[in-house]
Symmetry: C2
Subunit: 141 residues, 2 copies
Amino acid sequence: MQPTEFLKDLRQRGHRRTPQREMILQVICECDGHITADEIITRVRKRYPHLNKSAVYRTLNLLVQTGFVNPTDFGSGSVTYEIHRDPHHHHLVCRECGKMIEVDAGVFAPVERKLRDEYAFAPDLHHFAIFGLCRKCQKKG
Amino acid sequence: MQPTEFLKDLRQRGHRRTPQREMILQVICECDGHITADEIITRVRKRYPHLNKSAVYRTLNLLVQTGFVNPTDFGSGSVTYEIHRDPHHHHLVCRECGKMIEVDAGVFAPVERKLRDEYAFAPDLHHFAIFGLCRKCQKKG
DNA sequence: CTCCTAATTGCAACTAGTTGCAATTGAAAA
DNA sequence: TTTTCAATTGCAACTAGTTGCAATTAGGAG
Ligand SMILES: [Zn+2]
Ligand SMILES: [Zn+2]
Ligand SMILES: [Zn+2]
Ligand SMILES: [Zn+2]
C-alpha cells in the first residue's frame, strides 16, 4: 500500500492531507520493517528540516489508532512502528542474544477462542513482541 | 511474602539490604495490587521525605529482573508494578470502558507449547495486559 | 477566487524514566 | 573494632514521548 492510498483513506475518515503526514508516510512505507519515531524525523528532515517532533508523534498515534501501523516496544528504549500487514504476525525476541523470529498470527488462535468463549472478551492480539530464550541460548544457560 | 523475605532472597543473590529498598518493598507489599513508581515515591516519602526517584526506579528494575515483581503497561501513561504471584495471571482490559478481567496463566498454554515445539523458543508469558472489547462494549459498538 | 472554520502544526513546557558520576554505605575481612 | 571496596544512592542532565495553546492551513461553502 502506498502513501497516497493511506492519505486517501485517512481523508475519508475526516483527517486532512498535510505535507508532514505525506512525508512521514513516505518514510514509513519506504523503510520496509520496523522504524522508530526518531529515525522518521531524521529521514524526513533530510528533505524538510523544519519538521517538528510533535507532528511525527501525533501522526504515528493517528496511524496506530486507524490500524495502518503497528507499534511495538522491543525494549530498546524507543517504540518501533511498522506498516500493518494482513494477515498479521508476531515477533519472538531472545532476551539473551536479541535474535528475532517472525511467527504468524495463528499461534494465538486458541487464546482468542478461549477468551471469546469463556470471558466474552474480544481481544486485539496484533503484533506482539514475545520475549524468551531462543534454541541456542536455552542450551547455553 | 513479606519485605524481609524478599530482602533476604536478594541478599543471597548478592544484592544489599538498604533502608530505601526496605521501604520500597514495604509499600509494594502493603498495596496488594498494581502500583506506579510515582505512588511508591509518594507513600515512602510520608515517612522518609528524602527518597530519590532514581533509587525507586532502580529498585523496581531489580525486582523485575529477579522476578519478584511484574511490570505492566495498562496504557495510563505510567507502568504499574505488582508482586509476582505463582501461578501467575493476566489482565483483559476493555479499550472502551476500561473494565479489567483477571484470567489465569493457563490461557497461554497452547501458545507456549506451539512456540516450544515449532520454534524451539521458550517464551516468557507472564502477566500480560491484553486489550480488547468486553461483552458490553461489543454489543454497544 | 475568497472566506470561513475546524484540523493541524510548531513551540515550549511538561511527565516518565534512564544514566554517568561523585559521594556514601553495607557488609565482609582483618 | 577498624579497614576496605564494591554496591548503592542522590543528583543533575538527559531521552522518549505528551500536552496546552496560539498561529497556521486544508479544504469545503459561497
Ligand atoms: Zn513486525
Ligand atoms: Zn538467543
Ligand atoms: Zn496483575
Ligand atoms: Zn468495555
